[in-house]
Symmetry: C2
Subunit: 262 residues, 2 copies
DNA sequence: ATAGGAATTCTTGGATCCGAATGGAGGATG
DNA sequence: CATCCTCCATTCGGATCCAAGAATTCCTAT
């Protein structure tokens, strides 16, 4: 039963590539050969090119003219900026949600919070047991985190804000973040507490309180994420993907002397 | 330019179409036939399709599958949301700029303010003289307005915020806004005063003051823009482009009992 | 006469083909 | 031996061609 083309090939390719980029499956700085992509997906170059155009419009890749599309790597400044943007947009959405949330949505928010709390406990327990790498649990935790915020976005009824905040949310590449998550036990505990506080502000229909709590929530997440990145960078292993693009778009833009020659 | 192909055809088409959409030259709700576009630009359908993909990713058109791309019209709720987003992002950028602005940038801000004030006087004088429609003067006034804010964006050094704010700035279609500008003399005077206040806060390097002033500036602009739209809608002339797409994406969503605080 | 269905036509989506530009490799020359 | 020029291979941008889907129209049957 082939339901007639509810989605187009270019859309499929774009969505899959987008997921792969934000999940870190494809490394930042890597160039995407059109031939390779269309060989992977079994399609021609035309939908691949359209998908790359779309990804470039979304800011996920930078298209060098006549030289291919390279996955944008993100600097620490850009990471901070993304969290600033998320803080503004999420505080706006949460303040708006405080004025409009329904009882049914509040119940769903509680359910999401509950699942998030359970997964947080599970993640923390597993972290302390020394086992560092169960990716599906981390993915589930992130999904529960997003589900909590998605209820707030739904209550806010600001679709553009939701879209932009989610876009900002996915600017930081996923996998590299979690390389140092062992040192960040406090991130999980604090996140859960902040979620509960936001839930209370929403239940009390207090826009100002929800606004400041949401802002502080995102900004503290950003600070901890930055600390995680610094820890990961200090782990001394130079990332292998750094060798693929020598000078441009490095993560830590350390003041690498001045120009090499001259 | 003799420099070989610094820009691609699809880029040219996308940029021109984008300008035409945001300037209102092409009406909202209109469908863009690929053949017509490629006939207009003298190119094949391939770059046109890539340009449409990019515009769809930017949210300027909605692509129905197998049925063409239609220019997105904007509802009053979306307009309010766009101003909310601009208020958040611009207050963030202005607060950041207050901490980083240099003397040279402040001087350029003064120059932009001066030109903006002069053009404001000119526009108001022309409006009171009864002559309603000198589009190039209005375009110049908007450009001066944007130039003022662009200096702030440059000082803020938040490129992503700048891009998003400009994207939100261009979501409202230009031409229809100005159909009722005769009734909005206060908009111009207030804008100029607010610009001066923001300039003072930036010179004093006061992030909090700059933040609240920028927020109030954008929100008051949004309120006045909404009033202008209501006035234009009340002018009883049913907009011609409304006939092209009967039920979907209307401007005034009639069920909207919320909001509209004056 | 009206409603339903089938065929035609128009438009979009996807594939293939061709020209152009970039980058590297190799040779020639100072 | 180094540097510059030239040629070639790889890859991207644009055009054309073919297939598929949707809308309109026309025909038929009730």
């Amino acid at each position: 039963m082939i339901v007639p083309t509810l989605t187009t090939k270019a859309d499929e390719v774009a969505r899959t590539l987008e997921d792969e980029i934000v999940s870190g499956a494809v490394a930042p700085g890597q160039v995407l050969r059109q031939e390779g992509v269309c060989a992977r997906f079994g399609v021609s170059r035309t939908p691949v090119r359209e998908a790359l155009q779309r990804l470039e419009a979304l800011g996920l890749v930078t298209a060098l003219p006549n030289r291919g599309a390279r996955v944008r790597s993100i600097s620490s400044a850009e990471l901070r900026e993304a969290f600033m943007i998320r803080a503004e947009l999420e505080s706006l959405a949460t303040a708006q949600a405080a004025q409009r949330i329904t009882a049914e949505q509040l119940a769903r928010l509680d359910a999401a919070e509950e699942r998030f709390a359970a997964l947080t406990l599970e993640v923390r327990a597993q972290m302390r047991s020394g086992e560092p790498n169960t990716s599906e649990l981390v993915v589930g935790w992130m999904a529960a985190n997003h589900a909590f915020h998605d209820v707030i976005y739904e209550a806010a009824a600001l679709p553009r804000v939701e879209m932009l905040a989610k876009s900002a949310r996915r600017t930081f590449i996923g996998e590299h973040i979690w390389s140092a998550r062992g040192e960040l036990d406090e991130l999980f505990a604090r996140n859960d507490m902040q979620h509960r506080a936001i839930r209370e502000a929403l239940a009390a229909q207090s826009p100002d309180g929800a606004r400041t709590l949401a802002r502080e929530h995102v900004l503290s997440s950003g600070r901890l994420m930055e600390a995680a990145l610094d820890l990961a960078a200090a782990k001394a292993r130079p990332p292998d993907w750094l060798a693929t693009h020598p000078q441009d778009h490095v993560w830590q833009t350390v003041g690498d002397s001045q120009g090499a020659e001259r």
